[in-house]
């Protein structure tokens, strides 16, 4: 139960910089998600908070105290490692009991027995307590690793992709379980993942990390609807956002966009002064328009204002499908219902919800704006108040 602060933390390994001047504040009792691609520095950040690694520059504070010089054993953090890091020569029971037997967190055996039973019941591993880690499946090992972290009451839970190796059903179950547990324990948690769904559903707030730097910080909705650049937009969302190279055309008292792949179609924008003001300030006319797959629509008959293309692929991803259309050299992803009768290479006509588009600077790939930005800011503010 503590606030975690990182101030200007830089961590280098030889010549590579794993963390570059990271400043971050995790509120007390918050469920904080670190989300980013592989090799972004997520695990390094956790290790620096746990004290397994010590930053070259900057400060790490737990509960207001600078802990740079404090051993991991004295920081009162619990950590779940991505590769489980169970002790191979100890039974599941002894593994879970290990923190409670250490000199730092010593408890009597009676207490330990109760605590281990409680955690084992929570993790549904009661019948595995006498086994060795080598006799468990990956999912079971992961639950033992979680159990070892949950058995005591630390300042902060650090979880490094704890659900990555579970099968889909168990993962969904554990995801909601984790969220409930965190609410019940009221303990600050920092959770690392590269799964967008996990990040969105678990995190009170999410930090996007890339190349050792925090790229964006905010609630899930905030980041999803107002990604600060194209990288974040592509990371958040599955299927991935469509980014279309467009030209801005000014005229008739407003703006319209023309997609490079379909120059004959002019898409008129609804009036929006805040957005148009930002367009005014741009030094160039080319922009990237981000269209989420659910905001692009397919038609099999010619429709007013639709752009013609051909069906490139149709794949089912669970309860929905992704229809990919080829227009010029661009592949455009759209959400479609399962079982849609569709033939490859048949003609398809595409329209966009232009009022849901996200605009990016074509040069810097930075966020410019979107039409309903004000509404999303309100939503984010409400969420922040709630959390």
């Amino acid at each position: 139960m503590a606030k975690i602060e990182l101030i200007g933390v830089t961590k280098r390994f030889g010549k590579t910089t794993a963390l570059n001047n990271v400043t971050l504040e995790v509120h007390d009792k918050e469920f904080f998600v670190l989300f980013g691609p592989a090799g972004a520095g997520k695990t390094t950040l956790l290790n620096n908070i746990a004290g397994i690694q010590i930053p070259e520059e900057g400060m790490v504070k737990i509960g207001g105290q600078i802990v740079n010089q404090v051993d991991p054993a004295e920081r009162n953090v619990a950590m779940v490692f991505e590769n489980y890091a169970l002790y191979p020569h100890m039974t599941v029971y002894d593994n879970i009991a290990s923190p409670l037997r250490s000199p730092r967190y010593k408890k009597d055996e009676g207490y330990i027995k109760d605590a281990v039973q409680r955690v084992a019941a929570l993790m549904k591993i009661e019948m595995l307590l006498e086994r060795l880690p080598s006799q468990l499946s990956n999912g079971q090992r992961q639950r033992v690793a979680l159990g070892r972290a949950l058995v005591r009451e630390p300042n902060v839970f650090l979880m490094d992709e704890p659900l990555a190796h579970l099968d889909a059903k168990l993962r969904n179950h554990m995801r909601s379980e984790l969220k409930e547990m965190q609410a019940a324990f009221a303990t600050t948690s920092i959770y690392v993942t590269h799964d967008f769904m996990e990040a969105m559903s678990l995190g009170d707030r999410i930090a996007i990390i890339n190349n050792g730097e925090i790229v964006q910080l905010g609630t899930g909705d905030e980041i999803y609807y107002m990604p600060c650049n194209e990288f974040v937009a592509q990371l958040m969302g599955d299927p991935e956002i469509n980014l279309l190279s467009c030209r801005l055309v000014k005229g008739d008292g407003g703006y319209s966009v023309v997609w490079d792949e379909a120059p004959e179609h002019r898409m008129f924008m609804p009036a929006n002064n805040a957005l148009f003001d930002r367009f005014e300030k741009l030094s160039r006319a080319d922009i990237h328009m981000g269209i989420r797959p659910q905001n692009a629509h397919y038609h099999f008959e010619p429709v007013e204002g639709a752009i013609r293309g051909t069906v490139y692929a149709f794949e089912t991803i669970g309860n929905k499908s992704v229809l990919t259309a080829q227009i010029g050299d661009t592949h455009l992803r759209m959400i479609a219902p399962n079982g849609l009768p569709v033939n490859l290479d048949q003609d398809v006509y595409v329209t966009f919800d232009i009022d849901r588009a996200i605009f990016f600077d074509a040069g810097s790939t930075e966020y410019i704006g979107r039409f309903d930005e004000a509404a999303i800011r309100e939503l984010a503010a409400a969420q922040a108040k709630e959390a």
Binding site: N47, A50, G51, I52, D71, P72, A73, R75, V77, A78, M79, F81, E82, N83, A85, L86, Y87, P88, H89, S98, P99, S102, P103, R104, Y105, P133, S134, Q135, R148
Partner: protein, 273 residues
């Protein structure tokens, strides 16, 4: 098909029998010699008048047990020092990155490359100057050439197999480095450590060149002392056989006791599954 199988089985067993004779006959022959008197030594093969006179001569009338004691001290001391210094060295080579790490590791291994006879003469000069000649300490020191590389290389492999996150997890669980070392790491490297230490003990016990030239007056390990039974003009084969049989006993007993662990310890990694 069955005939073919039977033939294969016969051939296999015949091959194994030939190998068993090849491997064990010298030992059997040595034991037989211990029961022969000097008179019958060269004139009989399997039929002779067994006598215990050789045993009496060697075990009761010479300092045989002092030689055994010397062997135990130098071989045992060498292994203890090698374990105490080798395990931390192996840990450092497995866990830390420092300049020329692989060169140092290879250098350690290369101690085993040079023939003993090549290094023993310069060592003799050095030992003589330093006053290490014919001391327990001197022999234990030189035996590190035999035992240290083996222990470092085997145990290093075991440490490398233990993922570093296991140590991190134990740190986070509230253990200090020393507690982690003894509670987590030592149990995991134990098979390799035990196997390599016992093998080192046998190698040190069997060492002949080093004790022959670097000791021999006050301190006489059994391998060197066995040559005493080659007298100036007579050779007491029977007595030599007794000395050799007894000196081979520890190796044989160890090898039989730890056979299973020896093979497993030297070929398996620490963390399986």
């Amino acid at each position: 098909m069955t005939a073919q199988k039977r033939l294969y089985s016969i051939l296999k067993n015949a091959g194994l029998a030939i190998y068993a004779i090849f491997a064990l006959f010298p030992l059997l022959w040595m034991v037989l010699l211990t029961f022969k008197s000097d008179a019958e030594m060269l004139t009989t093969t399997f039929v002779f008048h067994p006598t215990l006179v050789n045993y009496e001569e060697v075990l009761l009338k010479t300092d045989y047990f002092r030689y055994i004691k010397d062997s135990i001290i130098v071989a045992g001391g060498a292994v203890i020092i090698s374990v105490l210094a080798g395990v931390p060295a192996a840990y450092a080579l497995a866990r830390y990155n420092f300049k020329k790490k692989e060169d140092i590791a290879f250098q350690i291994l290369s101690f085993k490359f040079a023939p003993e006879i090549l290094v023993v003469l310069p060592l003799y000069m050095i030992y003589d100057k330093l006053g290490l000649y014919d001391t327990y300490f001197g022999l234990i020191w030189v035996y590190q050439l035999i035992s240290m590389p083996l222990i470092i290389w085997v145990v290093r492999g075991y440490f490398e197999d233990i993922s570093v996150e296991i140590e991190h997890a134990a740190q986070v669980d509230g253990y200090s480095w020393w507690q982690i070392f003894f509670k987590i790491l030592v149990p995991l490297i134990r098979p390799g450590l035990v196997a390599s230490a016992l093998l080192c003990f046998i190698f040190a016990w069997n060492s002949f060149t080093f004790p022959l030239l670097l000791a021999g007056i006050k301190i006489e390990p059994i391998t060197v002392a066995a040559t005493k039974y080659l007298a100036q003009n007579t050779v007491h084969y029977g007595q030599m056989a007794v000395a050799a049989t007894f000196s081979a006993l520890p190796s044989i007993i160890f090898a039989i006791c730890i056979q299973k662990h020896l093979v497993r310890g030297l070929s398996f990694g620490a963390v399986k599954g």
